[in-house]
């Protein structure tokens, strides 16, 4: 299957003034809406998006919001200030998530239904690469030096490593059951991968591209099969990681150095998506089955607010 992306619906809404607004954008996969929260954690607006929006990111200048829409096979770019659709790339098969390469224009997209990762240049609209990966690819991560792109395949229990310069898959790393999301430590030395059904996080050493460790979770009163980790974020100082535990309804706080969970925060029903704001005072948590965003005060490790959003919130990005 060869995907061809086309640029359509170009609308010029003039220069945007949104960078650094502190607004949080939330994609809601079942209602095809993007909700916007302000710094007081109140919903200030929402807009209809392309179908089944899941993965999101800002362009490096924060003028555009890139949204992967699996429902209508689209990567859409919205103006951050006006919420207007600026660009739309069609015929990208079932995109779930993506990573924007540090070069600022190459989007590495997981095509969930097609066992493929495609590379879309969001400036030219060209699809410049296809990589056959395992079935149900999900998490995509570009290393900060731009050399490698990691892709998880949920159904294949595999993380594949694409060498960007060589344009080839250079490593296949077998993981535990159902690898979902990826996060890199700030020093670029480790990539963490969440294995949803195995209920653990595995740690990949980037230099050797092998699994070198794991993090286990034991929130009090919960069973192993209720622990289904998905999203991971790591603090900028590389000291702490937050892991959304899905069915366990908690977010785990992990000490990165010792690879031990130090705290579990009750957040809502089936948390998947996570995001920290810039000063890392707030952790946003998307609770897919309670249709809300939990805001965790990271200092106290307590929930400060739960904000109702659309149906099945998936990802959060913060414009700060």
């Amino acid at each position: 299957m060869y995907a061809i992306a086309a640029m359509l619906g170009l609308i010029d809404a003039g220069p945007a003034q949104a960078a650094g607004t502190g607004l949080a954008f939330v994609s809601n996969e079942r209602s095809s809406e993007i909700f916007v929260l302000d710094q007081t954690d109140s919903v200030v607006s929402s807009f209809k998006s392309c179908g089944r929006p899941r993965g999101m990111a800002f362009t490096p200048d924060h003028i555009r919001l890139i949204v992967a829409c699996g429902g209508d096979n689209t990567i859409a770019l919205y103006d951050v200030a006006s919420h207007k659709l600026m660009k739309r790339f069609r015929d990208v098969p079932d995109p779930e998530t993506f990573a924007l390469h540090p070069n600022g224009h190459d989007l590495y997209i997981s095509n969930e239904d097609d066992a493929e990762a495609t590379v879309l240049n969001i400036e030219s609209g060209e699809v410049t690469g296809h990589y056959p990966v395992g079935d149900e690819p999900e998490g995509v991560l570009a290393t900060s030096d731009g050399r490698f792109v990691f892709v998880t395949s949920e159904a294949a229990d595999l993380v594949q490593v694409i060498d960007v310069a060589a344009k080839t898959v250079v490593k296949e790393i077998i993981t535990a059951s159902r690898p979902r999301r990826l996060a890199a430590t700030p020093d670029g030395k480790q990539v963490w991968v969440s294995d949803e059904i195995a209920g653990i996080v595995e740690i990949i050493d980037v230099a050797t591209q092998t699994v070198v460790g794991r993090v286990e979770f034991a929130p009090p009163g919960l069973r192993h099969d209720e622990i289904t980790p998905v999203d991971i974020v790591i603090t900028r100082d590389g000291a702490r990681a937050y892991v959304a535990l899905g069915r366990a309804n908690h977010v785990a706080v992990v000490d990165v150095a010792t690879r031990k969970a130090t705290d579990y925060i009750l957040v809502g029903k089936r948390p998947w998506g996570l995001r920290l704001n810039r000063d890392e005072s707030k952790l946003y948590v998307a609770n897919g089955l309670s249709d809300d965003i939990a805001i965790v005060d990271t200092k106290s490790g307590k929930l400060s607010k739960a904000v109702p959003v659309g149906v099945t919130p998936y990802a959060i990005v913060v414009d700060d």
């Binding site: 159904a155 294949a156 250079v170 490593k171 296949e172 790393i173 059904i197 195995a198 209920g199 069973r223």
Partner: protein, 407 residues
């Protein structure tokens, strides 16, 4: 070669072709560069003129499609696991052999011994499967049961290398009983047909009801016919108008009269069992846990919906790949590996699945569905177990003791 009656035209190989395609696509994998992948053979064995796939006798003149061959599920699994197989340095070679309708099992067993596949998927009538198990040397190769639900079969074949992917009957009725109890529909009227499977299903539900705290108010036997002298047995309204009940459990495995029951019963009560809310291993309308992706892939490759038998064949192939991850590549090694709790799999039903060491039953969630939607996945919330809630469904270790003669 032994004198085996086979239909050579119906023999299909898949696997190698897809692997070559993948290699061509990725360029190279340095992990296995220059090293030929190890072939892992899986034999999919079916029987010509198997009644399970025969045209459905349309007594009412209405066409109902016959059950399609689940081989398509095994084929999909070969495609689905190609990336994993590549990373492991193996190829899955799936061989579909169809025995002639009167072909002897013993000869096939000899051929299996000679060919030494890593696993056999038995899409066979129950008697054939049992005969095959008895004809093969003990623990020489795992045999996957993808069709037969009888709990007695798990008992009779315990200690052999048979692995039951399809849920046992008691797992299905346990799932329905959990649902009824969770809803507080504790008074149940059982209505069953005359077939042995109907009686077995009704009995299994009675045991499940007792296990989870529901009460059977009465069990009524239905007789197909119009004889006014037998109307107390043929008329559903009369059969269901007695003592009050919260829910009706229907056991009509042949689909002879059950379709009418939800709207012919005397009281406005929900129906569960073989109509209304049903328990299955898989549904093509599941909307969670990655099931839609599996169903999309299946529909694209087989051009039809995925049945629970397709799904069971799909799981069987995936189990072999999972065993390969644990370095088991030969029949005896795979047979031994699967019984270990360490071999756990994601089967797109939300919970980590594995084979129970005591009876080799695949430990899995059960789908509770109507004709067009998945209502719940059992085990349901609140039904607890000291090891895993999955073991609230079916025969648990303390209830099972293996005293069968079959090796």
């Amino acid at each position: 070669m032994t004198e085996v009656n086979r239909l050579p035209l119906r023999r299909v190989f898949v696997g190698i072709a897809t692997c070559v395609a993948l290699l061509a696509g990725t360029g190279a994998s340095p992990a296995q560069e220059g090293v030929a992948p190890t072939p892992v053979k899986i034999l999919y064995l079916s029987r010509a003129d198997d009644v399970a796939y025969a045209d459905i006798q349309a007594a009412d003149g209405v066409f109902r499609p016959p059950l399609p061959s689940p081989f398509a599920g095994a084929e999909l699994a070969v495609k689905d696991t190609r990336a994993t197989a590549h990373a492991l340095g193996i190829t899955i070679d799936l061989d579909h052999t169809t025995l002639e309708s009167d072909g002897p099992i013993a000869a096939e067993a000899q051929r299996i011994v000679a060919d030494a596949p890593a696993a056999v998927i038995a899409d066979l009538p129950e008697a054939d499967m049992v005969a095959l198990v008895k004809a093969l040397p003990a623990s020489s190769v795992p045999i996957f049961n993808i069709r037969h639900r009888a709990d007695s079969l798990r008992q009779d074949l315990c200690g052999s290398a048979v692995y039951h992917v399809i849920p046992s009957r008691s797992m299905l009725t346990d799932a329905l009983a959990q649902f009824a109890v969770q809803k507080n529909w504790r008074k149940v009227l059982v209505l069953r047909g005359p077939a042995p499977d109907d009686i077995a299903l009704a009995n299994a539900f009675e045991t499940s009801a007792q296990k989870f705290g529901a009460r059977i108010v009465d069990t009524k036997a239905f007789v197909l016919g119009h004889d006014p002298r037998k109307r107390a047995q043929t008329n559903i309204t009369l059969l269901t108008g007695s003592d009050d009940y919260d829910v009706l459990f229907l056991a009509d495995t042949g689909g002879d009269f059950g379709r009418y029951v939800p709207y012919q019963l005397a009281r406005p009560r929900p129906v569960i069992g073989t109509e209304g809310l049903r328990a299955t291993a898989w549904d093509s309308l599941s909307d969670r846990f990655g099931a839609p992706q599996v169903n999309h892939r299946f529909e694209r490759s087989a051009h039809r919906s995925m049945t629970e038998y397709d799904w069971a064949a799909w799981v069987a192939v995936r189990a072999v790949v999972e065993a390969a991850r644990h370095k088991a590549l030969t029949g005896p090694a795979v047979a031994a590996a699967l019984a270990h709790d360490a071999i756990t799999m994601d089967v797109s039903k939300g919970m980590e699945a594995s084979f129970r060491p005591w009876d080799h039953q695949f430990r899995q969630s059960i789908v509770l569905q109507t004709s067009d939607v998945v209502i719940e996945m059992a085990p349901l919330e609140g039904f607890l177990h000291r090891v895993t809630p999955l073991d609230t469904l079916g025969t648990d270790a303390p209830e099972f003791s293996c005293k069968a003669a079959v090796r």
